[in-house]
C-alpha cells in the first residue's frame, strides 16, 4: 500500500477514526483533569541512614546482603520500603487524627535512596490533598522512620542503624509535569489505535471499495467508475 492508499482508507473510515479520537481525547482529558486537581500537596523529608558498625559491615545474618551491598544500603532500602507499608501509613494517620486532619494511605508515600555506599540518604514523600496534612504527615513519617523505627523494622535492625532526619519536613505542590506528558501520550496512542482500527476494519470489510479492488478481483478493467 502507498501513502495515498492509507489516506484513502482513513478518509473512507473517517467516522471510526473520529469517534475513537474523540473518546480518547475526552478520556485523556478527564484523567489529566483528575490527576492535576487531585495531585494536591507533597510533604517531603530526608533521612540520613548509616550502619552503626560501618567498619564491620557484616549483619547478624550476613546472607541478607546481596553481592556488593553494604549494611547501609540494606538499611536504607529497608527503611524506604517499610515507609511505604500500610503499618506506617496507619501510624501516620493515627498521629494526624487528633489534629483533625485527613488520613493517609500507603499509596501516597514514596521514596528514593541516595548518598554513598556507607552513608545513605532516604528521601520520603507523602502526598495529600490538604497542604497542612501533607506537611504534618511528612514530619510524622520522618519521626516514624527514625525515632520510632524499631516498631517497623524490628529492634535488632534498629540497633544496627543510625537514622536521623537531616532536613525539616517541607511541603510543596505535588509535581504534575508528567501529567501533561501522559495526556499527550494517551492522545497520541489513541490516534494510533484509531488509525489501526480503521485499517483493520477496512481490511476485514469484504465489499469492494475502489477501482483497484474490482480490477484485482475481476482481473478485468473498470470501464467507468461513476461518481
Amino acid at each position: 500500500m502507498t501513502w495515498s492508499d492509507y489516506l484513502a482508507t482513513f478518509r473512507r473510515r473517517w467516522v471510526i477514526v473520529a469517534v475513537i479520537v474523540v473518546f480518547d481525547v475526552l478520556a485523556a482529558g478527564l484523567l489529566f483533569y483528575r490527576s492535576y486537581h487531585h495531585a494536591g500537596w507533597q510533604g517531603s523529608v530526608t533521612i540520613y541512614v548509616a550502619d552503626v558498625g560501618a567498619t564491620n559491615t557484616t549483619l547478624e545474618t550476613t546472607d541478607q546482603l546481596l553481592a556488593g551491598e553494604t549494611a547501609a544500603d540494606f538499611f536504607a532500602d529497608d527503611i524506604k520500603d517499610v515507609a511505604q507499608s500500610a503499618s506506617v501509613a496507619d501510624f501516620v494517620s493515627s498521629r494526624l487524627q487528633p489534629l483533625g486532619l485527613p488520613n493517609s494511605d500507603p499509596g501516597s508515600i514514596s521514596g528514593t535512596v541516595g548518598g554513598q555506599r556507607t552513608d545513605r540518604t532516604v528521601n520520603l514523600w507523602i502526598t495529600n490533598p490538604n497542604e497542612e496534612t501533607a506537611l504534618r504527615a511528612a514530619g510524622v513519617l520522618g519521626q516514624a522512620m527514625t525515632v520510632d523505627r524499631a516498631r517497623f523494622i524490628g529492634a535488632k535492625m534498629a540497633r544496627r542503624t543510625y537514622a536521623r532526619v537531616i532536613s525539616p519536613a517541607t511541603v510543596g505542590r505535588a509535581p504534575t509535569s508528567h501529567d501533561l506528558l501522559n495526556f499527550g501520550l494517551r492522545v497520541a496512542l489513541g490516534v494510533l489505535v484509531a488509525l489501526g482500527v480503521a485499517l483493520l476494519w477496512d481490511a476485514l470489510d469484504p465489499a469492494v471499495r475502489d477501482r483497484d479492488d474490482v480490477e484485482r478481483a475481476l482481473e478485468a478493467p473498470v470501464l467507468v467508475a461513476a461518481r
Partner: protein, 145 residues
C-alpha cells in the same frame, strides 16, 4: 443507493461506458450488462437502456433485450442476437440467474455492474472464475455507488 441518482448522471455514465466500449470492444455485435448479484441491483434507471440509446445516437442500429426468468439455450440466445446487427442484453444478477449466465455465453462480451461498498470481492472473484471457465469474455466492470 446507486450513485447514478438522476437521469443526467445515468446518461453520463452510459455515455462514458459507450466511449470506453468503442475502444475495448469496437467489433462486438452483442453485449451483456448484468449486476453481480440480484441483491446488488439498485439502479433506478437502466444503464443498458441508456447505453442502447447512446449507440443509437451514434447511428448504430441497436436492439435491447431484457432477460426474463425464461431459461433459453445458448443457441436460442444466439438466434435472438442474430436478428439485429448490434444487441445489448440486460441481465439479472450473474451469480443468481442461470438465464443470465446462458446469455453471457452467447454474447461477445459481458459488462459487470458492481456496487461500491456492497458487492463482495469474493463474489466477484468467484464469478470471474465461473465466467472464464464458461468461455465468456469479460469486457470490464462499471463501478457504481
Amino acid at each position: 443507493m446507486i450513485e447514478v441518482r438522476h437521469p443526467s448522471a445515468a446518461d453520463e455514465t452510459a455515455r462514458l461506458l459507450f466511449a470506453r466500449l468503442q475502444i475495448v470492444q469496437p467489433n462486438a455485435h452483442s453485449l451483456l450488462l448484468a449486476w453481480t448479484t440480484d441483491a446488488d441491483r439498485a439502479a433506478r434507471v437502466s444503464i443498458a437502456a441508456l447505453l442502447a440509446d447512446a449507440y443509437r445516437g451514434a447511428g448504430r442500429e441497436t436492439a435491447l433485450i431484457e432477460l426474463g426468468d425464461e431459461l433459453l439455450t445458448v443457441d436460442d440466445m444466439r438466434a435472438a442476437l442474430a436478428r439485429s446487427p448490434f444487441t445489448i442484453v440486460q441481465g439479472a444478477g450473474l451469480a443468481d440467474s442461470p438465464a443470465t449466465i446462458v446469455a453471457a455465453r452467447a454474447v461477445d462480451a459481458v459488462v459487470i455492474l458492481v456496487r461500491r461498498g456492497r458487492t463482495k470481492r469474493s463474489t466477484l472473484a468467484a464469478l470471474r472464475s465461473e465466467l472464464v471457465a464458461a468461455g465468456v469474455s469479460i469486457a470490464g466492470a462499471v463501478l457504481l455507488d
